[in-house]
């Protein structure tokens, strides 16, 4: 049984330019102990999806226009604010994309770390401090006792990010939602942090949603992967499906753009065309103008469907262009 089941989530923003369809029909599911990676175009709605699950969207201009998010049998999108706060405190932790803006600049690091433990009376102050120092050590912050009473601006970018991680893990949540948690970390510290998360998954059965642009992290750390483009999931499957058998033209374009596979001095490959503006009526396939596959104009006007091309491997594609994709499979 799944721990989290998101169905057809849509979140829109009203702006002067029109309605931005930031998230437009996203479905995800996650089992206990499992890690789901989300990759995708910048601006495709990854962060808004996560904010929507915890109802952190500013309303207005934002609005969750449809969908369900069943967590432990309850719908996060429909429960009372009080129940939601209870779930958020004890069962779901989120690491935000912007560490500096989500830490309070006027409050010492230690006080911010123990806050969630104290508010929900999980332990007394002395125990909380012990736990906080333990977590600081676990995320690799030296001089933890001195740094416990320092302020966020006295930390480096990566240290602030690690404090956010420590803060999210300190309550031992059932679900961790991590939005780009390791962008400011060098690969050795990143490996250490991912190891720590994995250890907590093994010990506590914690499930993880990990948003990242780092395909290396996706390949090494995630059980399943969802690829987002323009507010929808365009492909989803195991890490192997995405790395060895990717179907969707966007997924393949993304993999082709990775610098390490390209020669120094040459121009880097980029997906042709510009990212779409998710304003106005929903196109049949948002990727059609940039797709390198052969398809007729008539096909491009057909509505794309989320098809299971192999057990557990789903692709958004027009039924007519499935055949086009086949030739890309080895």
């Amino acid at each position: 049984m799944s721990l989290l089941q998101v169905e057809n989530l849509a979140t829109h923003f009203d702006t002067r330019q029109g309605t931005v369809r930031a998230v437009d029909g996203v479905s995800l599911s996650l089992k206990k102990g499992e890690t789901l990676g989300i990759v995708g175009e910048s601006g495709s709605g990854k962060s808004v999806t996560c904010y929507s699950l915890l109802r952190l969207i500013p309303e207005p201009p934002g609005k969750i226009v449809s969908g369900k998010a069943i967590f432990d049998g309850e719908d996060l999108l429909r429960m009372t604010k009080r129940d939601l706060n209870r779930v958020r405190a004890r069962k779901i932790s989120m690491i935000f994309q912007d560490p500096m803006t989500s830490l309070n600049p006027y409050m010492r690091i230690g006080a911010q770390l123990i806050e969630p433990l104290l508010i929900h009376k999980m332990c007394d102050k002395k125990q909380a401090r012990e736990r906080a120092l333990e977590m600081m050590h676990a995320v690799g912050i030296p001089d933890s006792i001195k740094r416990y009473s320092m302020y966020p601006h006295e930390f480096s970018g990566g240290m602030r990010q690690r404090i956010m991680i420590a803060m999210a893990l300190i309550t031992k949540p059932e679900l961790l939602i991590a939005d780009e948690p390791t962008t400011a970390l060098d690969v050795t510290v990143q490996a250490q942090i991912l190891e720590l998360i994995r250890k907590m998954q093994n010990e506590l059965g914690m499930a993880v949603i990990l948003i990242t642009h780092d395909l290396g992290v996706i390949s090494g750390f995630c059980d399943r992967v969802s690829v987002m483009y323009s507010g929808t999931v365009v492909e989803s499957g195991t890490a192997d499906d995405i790395f060895y058998r990717a179907h969707h033209a966007y997924t393949r374009g993304l993999k082709k753009s990775i610098p390490s596979t390209q020669e120094k001095g040459s121009k880097l490959y980029t997906i042709p065309g510009a990212p779409p503006q998710p304003i106005g009526p929903k196109p049949a396939c948002a990727f059609a103008p940039r797709s390198d596959l052969n398809f007729s104009e008539e096909e491009a006007r057909m509505e794309a469907k989320f098809l299971e091309v192999q057990p557990g491997h789903w692709v958004e594609v027009h039924p007519a262009s499935v055949e086009n994709y086949k030739e890309y499979l080895k």
Partner: protein, 344 residues
């Protein structure tokens, strides 16, 4: 390279932050020695990649070069002029020449300014444009960094993380500077847009002779962008050399660990790979260890006596410098990372 050739010359720069005294301590003031004696020199049009462990002092060094904090000691010569001696007013007049792309784009954008407000001022001053012409120029710049000109009148909070990072890049490019320090400029971008921005920066380096310090944790990006790489550890440069050379023949133990930990793009090999896991805690910039700063975490055999003496920054091959004990350099060389890398 003689002094005259260098465009930017960083000489023995230190940047220390005093620790607040606690009520009962009667000891001397202690310092966080964030940057502790860095010397580097860049020629015009060069891209220097700066990598290093989180917290080793990369951002602090950048801010000291930009004079956003005045360094504790040392000189920073830009085209021969020592920036550390310039009064605030002269510095302000020179600022359009050197720009920084900040690590935390959201915190560095003014939430009350639209993208147009943020980008237009520098273009207006430089090209004396107004009205529709100014709008066009701003729109052009936005398209260059992969934004759409129709987003000109939006505020920072209306953008995604990666879109904000591109606004920050455009802001640094707007005054057409000669020197850019880019602190993790592409870490929040998907790889396709990342490639687009890297191509743009490469073009500008070639067409405008832009000089750049490029900080990134992604070594494949650094390798692609940089002519030389400097590896920083605990406030000091510990390895410096040609980008391809440093990545293929790393000699300092930290560089070796870093390179062995680069994630691969192959889930199968990723599941059962050997990477060097650093042992011990990261060292403290408040009480830096004596002697070799890496000794405690190093897996390379050395005598306890070796660990106590300071490493020497020595040229082991033309243009390739490493901080290491002369006695242990051979040990280091033997541990070059390859697929059969030993973990311990």
């Amino acid at each position: 390279m003689s002094l005259q050739d260098s465009f930017l010359q960083i000489q023995d720069v230190r940047s220390w932050f005093p620790l607040r005294k606690t009520l009962f301590s009667n000891k001397q003031t202690q310092y966080v020695k964030a940057v502790d004696g860095v010397s580097l020199s860049l020629v015009k049009g060069e891209v220097l990649g700066l990598v290093g462990e989180s917290g080793c002092g990369k951002t602090t060094l950048s801010r000291a070069i930009m004079q956003l904090i005045r360094p504790t000691s040392g000189k920073i010569l830009l085209e021969g002029k020592d920036l550390t001696l310039l009064p605030e007013k002269e510095l302000r007049a020179m600022r359009p020449n050197f720009q920084m792309i900040f690590q935390d784009p959201f915190a560095s954008l003014n939430p009350r300014l639209t993208v147009f407000d943020t980008l237009s001022e520098a273009i207006r001053v430089r090209h004396k444009l107004r009205g529709d012409k100014l709008k066009d120029a701003v729109g052009q710049l936005m398209i260059k960094v992969g934004l759409s000109a129709s987003q000109m009148n939006k505020y920072p909070h209306e953008f995604s993380g990666g879109q904000r990072q591109r606004i920050a890049i455009a802001r640094a490019l707007a005054p057409e500077p000669k020197l850019i320090i880019a602190d993790e400029p592409v870490s929040a971008l998907d790889v396709s847009i990342q490639s687009q921005v890297l191509n743009l920066l490469k073009d500008l380096i070639q067409s405008m002779g832009l000089t750049m310090i490029f900080i990134s944790h992604d070594l494949s990006v650094v390798k692609y962008m940089a002519d030389r790489i400097a590896v920083m550890y605990l406030g000091k440069i510990v390895e410096l050399g040609d980008a391809t050379e440093v990545i293929t023949n790393p000699v300092h133990a930290y560089t070796q660990a870093l390179i062995s930990a680069i994630p691969t793009l192959d889930p199968k090999s990723e599941r059962n790979r050997n990477r060097i896991v650093l042992q011990g805690d990261p060292p403290s910039p408040i009480n830096p260890p004596k002697g070799c700063s890496f000794a405690l975490r190093s897996w390379i055999p050395h005598s306890p006596k070796d660990a106590e003496i300071d490493g020497v920054f020595m040229e082991i091959k033309t243009g390739h410098f490493v901080e290491v004990h002369p006695a242990t350099v051979e040990n280091h060389r033997r541990y070059l990372p390859d697929s059969k890398f030993e973990t311990q």
